[in-house]
């Protein structure tokens, strides 16, 4: 244990996800000992981030305005909505530059263990977006795990009644990899999802 404020700093850093006690200690001593490092910039960003950043009123993505840059962009295809669990999934899909439609961030996945049901997710907001019939396809891009699949199944049931095409991202082999290095579960899934060629 260190004295007073040094230990406070280590404890506080250690509360962040992905930072263990050793990393916390290393970061704390870097801040203390490196003369060229000015922590006031970090302090400023930390205090303003909570005030400035809000969630897009339409899709739930992070933004500094009332709506996010994707929802504001008139060049995006307004007939497609890709449903994801978290804002970081939007960034991942944007990196592909393949998808030119809009997003909808649920804010998680259905998980009774964590106390998350449909009411805790932004599902009602998704339904309102579908009201005016501009959207023709919903692409469900929740994670390919138990909770993500359950959320996808729930959404597809809900959307059945609407005049909209519902699709789910395929799961299968990583591109550029060798078949032999794929784990059995992924390879097994790829077998299930095989498709006709030509």
């Amino acid at each position: 244990m260190y004295e007073g404020v040094v230990q406070d700093l280590i404890d506080e850093l250690g509360r962040l996800p992905g930072v263990g006690p050793k990393s916390a200690q290393r970061i704390a001593f870097y801040i203390l000992q490196t003369e060229t490092y000015d922590p006031s910039h970090l302090a400023d960003v930390l205090t303003t981030v909570r005030d400035k950043v809000r969630f897009c009123e339409i899709c739930g993505n992070v933004t500094e305005q009332t709506t996010c840059s994707i929802c504001r962009d008139p060049r995006r295809d307004q007939t497609l909505i890709c449903v994801v669990e978290e804002a970081k999934d939007v960034v991942a899909i944007e990196r592909t530059r393949e998808f030119r439609g809009l997003y909808h961030v649920l804010g998680g996945a259905i998980s009774p263990i964590q106390g998350v049901g449909p009411d805790q997710l932004r599902i009602r907001q998704l339904m309102t977006r579908l009201a005016d019939a501009t959207v023709s396809e919903i692409i469900i891009a929740t994670n390919p795990n138990v909770e993500g699949e359950a959320t996808a199944a729930y959404l597809s049931r809900l959307l059945q009644a609407m005049e909209v095409r519902v699709t789910r991202l395929a799961s299968g082999l990583p591109v550029g990899g060798d078949l032999e290095y794929a784990d059995e579960v992924t390879l097994g899934r790829a077998f299930e999802g095989r498709r006709l060629v030509g």
């Binding site: 009774p112 049901g117 699949e149 359950a150 199944a153 059995e184 579960v185």
Partner: protein
């Protein structure tokens, strides 16, 4: 396949040990508590990424030490691989395959074992959970993909039970349960696959179990394996809700599972727990038309347990592309009479490699004594063939004994 060399560092009571293995039978002898089982436990761990003795990895790290290392050379079909696993007390375990970084879970592909242990008596006499674990272990060894299906089923089951419990606690039956249908769907999809795979495995085991039982017991007592499926209304005896059973329906497994779940919904809401599915199934072992549990003698129960292990080894051998699984007979000979010992020894003779541990050298039939390793207080005292005099002070250079192939 066969293990050719094993090196242990700070594993259980071994500070450091190097053991050479022969093809065919290898016998490890030593008094109780000297480390025979620890030695084979390390191989079981590599082949199943789990110990049969403890669910906590740290129990296998020698006291007051930070990490244990298992290093094992395996040869199959003329090719040799080096498997290395470091068990760490305070961080994630590390694995290496032929000296390059790998995942602990990957190692299981290169070493396949079938373990016979005194605990196997519970396969016949114990609770249904023991038999489910036996079936699932063989399923994963035959088709590793099923490890994912089993893990997902378990996860869905826990989510669904939590939902049922919270619905019971809050007394809500409407909106909070709107996701129950979704969980039902996942439960039925994954569960049906497990039910079908287990049923197929049980069907495949029937003939090899009958042959193996006759070979070990020396008589034909008509061993049978009868699947008890809760979706078809069966009630395994560990069921704490034995008054609840599903109506037997017909059709595909999915249809039967779905209708069983639908029929029990209000009961499940009352109890806050999932009442049907592979997590409550069982398989009944019968001899001469009577359940082995409760009717079979000690010897008959043992013969049945051994027959199950021999049969699973047989199945793995038939499907294997990397040769026979390594058979590990941990302390089983002490439990058997003279005639059964000889017959068991004969049954395992044909396998590429058989590892046997025993406290008493004479308990093990001569056919399995061709390569003997003596173990005392966590050290390999001597290795060699049977004629070797036991000289505790003298470490004899490892000498590969005659193989029995």
């Amino acid at each position: 396949m066969k293990v050719t060399h094993l090196s242990l560092t700070d594993f259980r009571n071994y500070q450091h040990a190097e053991v050479e293995f022969a093809a065919g039978p290898n016998l490890f002898v030593g008094s109780n508590g000297q480390g025979k089982t620890n030695l084979v436990e390390s191989l079981v761990y590599l082949s199943t990424s789990g110990s049969h003795r403890t669910p906590v990895d740290t129990a296998m790290i020698r006291q007051d030490v930070g990490a244990a290392v298992i290093r094992c050379r395996v040869e199959s079909e003329g090719r040799s691989v080096l498997l290395e696993l470091q068990l760490n007390r305070s961080s994630a375990n590390k694995a290496m395959l032929n000296r390059s970084a790998s995942k602990p879970r990957e190692l299981v592909r290169y070493l396949s074992t079938v373990l016979f242990a005194p605990e196997d008596l519970a396969l016949v006499r114990g609770e249904p959970a023991v038999r489910r674990r036996f079936l699932d272990t063989v399923l994963i060894q035959r088709a590793p993909r099923l490890a994912g299906v089993l893990a997902d089923y378990d996860r869905v089951l826990r989510q669904r039970n939590t939902l049922l419990k919270s619905a019971r606690a809050s007394g809500v039956r409407g909106s909070a349960l709107s996701t129950l249908d979704v969980w039902d769907e996942r439960l039925v999809a994954l569960g049906s696959e497990i039910i079908d795979e287990r049923s197929a495995l049980i069907a495949d085991l029937v003939d090899p179990v009958r042959d193996a039982y006759r070979a070990v017991a020396g008589g034909d007592h008509g061993p049978r394996l009868v699947p008890l499926l809760t979706v078809d209304g069966a009630q395994p005896d560990d069921d704490d809700a034995s008054d609840v059973r599903a109506e037997a329906a017909s059709g595909s497994t999915r249809d039967r599972f779905a209708s069983a779940i639908a029929g029990l919904r209000s009961r499940e809401l009352d109890r806050g727990v999932t009442l049907v599915g592979p997590h409550r199934d069982d398989v009944r072992f019968e001899l001469n038309g009577l359940p082995a549990k409760g009717y079979a003698s000690h010897g008959e129960s043992w013969s049945f347990a051994l027959a199950l292990r021999l049969a699973s080894a047989q199945l793995l051998r038939e499907r294997s592309t990397t040769g026979d699984p390594v058979l590990i007979l941990d302390d089983v000979f002490a439990e058997l009479d003279q005639a059964r010992r000889a017959r068991l020894a004969a049954s395992v003779q044909g396998y590429e490699q058989v590892l046997v541990t025993a406290a008493v050298f004479e308990d093990v039939p001569a056919a399995l004594r061709t390569h003997t390793v003596r173990i005392s207080a966590g050290t390999v005292v001597s290795q060699g063939d049977e004629s070797q005099e036991w000289a505790p002070d003298e470490i004899v250079p490892s000498d590969v004994g005659a193989s029995d192939e």
